[in-house]
Symmetry: C2
Subunit: 350 residues, 2 copies
């Protein structure tokens, strides 16, 4: 079989060299070739040298697919995100990529953007992955259950699936929003604080809103009608939201945007309406995306350590991959307030 295969292959024109062809040329068996490429100890230096030499000469490199099949592993992870437009998610990816690379795993990125979630998860099943990191949306649960059923390890970012035990990492959204609101109330004595909320489909939105409301309540402040407006976590929705707020008969003294992108839009809107920030109106965000310090004024926001979340998620995933018996962990990342200028604090850091 060995010889026949080698001959057969040699007969073809552009066929990629296989382990059979290499073995034949190097005058060894395919087992030896395999051992050379896998760093097996019981192989002589001389043989190894010869194999690598011939491999180089014929531009051989082992077929990853065949390897995957024989090894029953792909060394590949996937990360599922709503989209990659938001710096929040790109930072997440950077974190995830950083640790998957350091542990020699490949990372596939999937976005729901131009595909409904259901199809995405179906496609996920047709690819070779060892595990998945899923950035939760409220609708994600049902699909993730499919993964669970197929016994594909996964970790949820920012959410939990009821009735399912699994790894998760999430920022402490509620506390972050609470502290930020508290800062505006207690440290700046702003009386009227509006909130631009993110989309319902994103789990973060609700948690941040809750923190904001809780802080108002705890400090005896009423929630005025029309002071919580809906946004989409995008610049344009932040812009629109702020315009609406500023068009109110009695505009707020501060705007708390549910994320930094909306804060950026809100700042544009306020500037366009002739408001000085933070003198006339304070605007703060949430996420602390890298560019928020390059805004003028520099954005006061809540740091959720996007990079760290991505990194932690992959770390957990790889840990349970290596040790399936390992108990699931629920990692809650602290979300500290980062004071810059847009709230009225005066530090200057660039």
């Amino acid at each position: 079989m060995n010889a026949r295969q080698a001959e057969f292959h040699a007969g073809h024109r552009f066929m990629k060299p296989t382990i059979y062809m290499l073995a034949q040329k190097a005058g060894v068996s395919i087992a030896t070739v395999s051992r050379a490429f896998n760093g097996h100890p019981r192989i002589s230096g001389e043989t190894k040298r010869r194999i690598f030499e011939t491999a180089e000469a014929m531009a051989y490199s082992p077929s990853p697919t065949a390897r995957n099949l024989a090894n029953r592993t792909t060394e590949t992870l996937a990360i599922v995100l709503p989209h990659i437009t938001d710096p929040f998610f790109t930072e997440l990816i950077r974190g995830a990529e950083s640790v998957s690379k350091s542990r020699a795993y490949h990372l596939l990125i999937y976005t729901c953007e131009d595909m409904d979630e259901q199809n995405l998860f179906l496609q996920l099943l047709t690819t070779r992955i060892d595990g998945v990191v899923v950035a939760a949306r409220s609708s994600t649960g049902q699909y993730v259950k499919r993964l669970a059923r197929q016994n594909i390890p996964f970790v949820m970012l920012g959410g939990a699936i009821p009735g399912l035990h699994h790894n998760k990492v999430r920022p402490d959204n509620q506390s972050g929003a609470y502290q930020m609101t508290r800062h505006l109330i207690v440290d700046h004595h702003y009386g009227e604080i509006a909130f631009i909320c993110g989309p319902e489909a994103q789990i973060h939105s609700g948690e941040r809103l809750t923190g904001y409301l809780q802080a108002l309540r705890d400090h005896g402040m009423a929630v005025r009608d029309g002071w919580v407006v809906a946004g989409e976590f995008t610049e344009s929705s932040g812009f629109a939201g702020a315009k609406a707020l500023l068009g109110l008969p009695r505009p707020p003294r501060a705007i708390f945007a549910g994320n930094d992108r909306m804060a950026i839009g809100a700042i544009s809107a306020a500037a366009e309406c002739g408001y000085a920030i933070p003198k006339d109106i304070a605007i703060v965000g949430f996420d602390d995306v890298p560019s928020s310090r390059y805004l003028r004024p520099a954005l006061t926001t809540v740091n959720v350590n996007c990079f760290g979340q991505g990194a932690a998620a992959v770390e957990q995933l790889l840990d349970t991959l290596e040790n399936p018996e390992r108990p699931y962990v629920d990692l809650i990342m602290p979300a500290p307030v980062v004071l810059r200028n847009s709230c009225g604090c005066l530090e200057r850091e660039t």
Copy 2:
């Protein structure tokens, strides 16, 4: 063998169901199962139904790896980028993803960020891909040659490898920069125009610089010493570059940043130095990333259709994958100037 394998598998606890197990339970041969899952015409509706039913019941889904091996294709593409922090690249990815999804391909994203290029390309060889899109940097050539040697189809984004025939798509950087400079000179009569250049390693940088210089020359304007400063295509380097420029004994009347991120940094710097934009100084960018219209003032820039580039690149790749004899194409994307406010033009679009 069939029966033995099935029994063997059944004996294990958590082993994923294989085609053998499914075939046994459904009372057919593995060939029939395979045919059912591949939409083969010569199979009865009844049998197919039964197979899918049992598959559903035992949560079977065919192993992608085994399929890949048998089919000698992976339906997976890779895209190699310097990083994903820049919206330019995320748009590129969006474009690439959009067409690869529509043609039922998977897309792997690779960044050089925390890994030197050489390792990245080595890792690329250990994954299962049918082709690669490479966003060129000046150092990329040598590595891409390796791909060529392994007969892996690829297309270059923004650059060409000398001595190698291949597909490429690139923006018309030089013409875009030329037109933008011309706009500042001819339409606004700005006499002193500085340029913040991108890093040498990125091919775009040089081309844009060339266009800028050419326009100055064509309009009889001298290039003043110190008016071309080096940047890194990041906000912070744009900030620093602008600061340097504004600290000059005779600061420029306009700053042309080599990309939008640097323009954002430059705007911050100018604002911080008390300059009004565009009244005191005009600042323009390059790329037209989505958020540039949410800057205040809205950024005048050059549109390079990042999304379109990514899409076109994948399209070309898939085309040569489907038809290897197809001649290589060199697609040059137009790079029109987009007039907004930061140059002094007054349109208001949001």
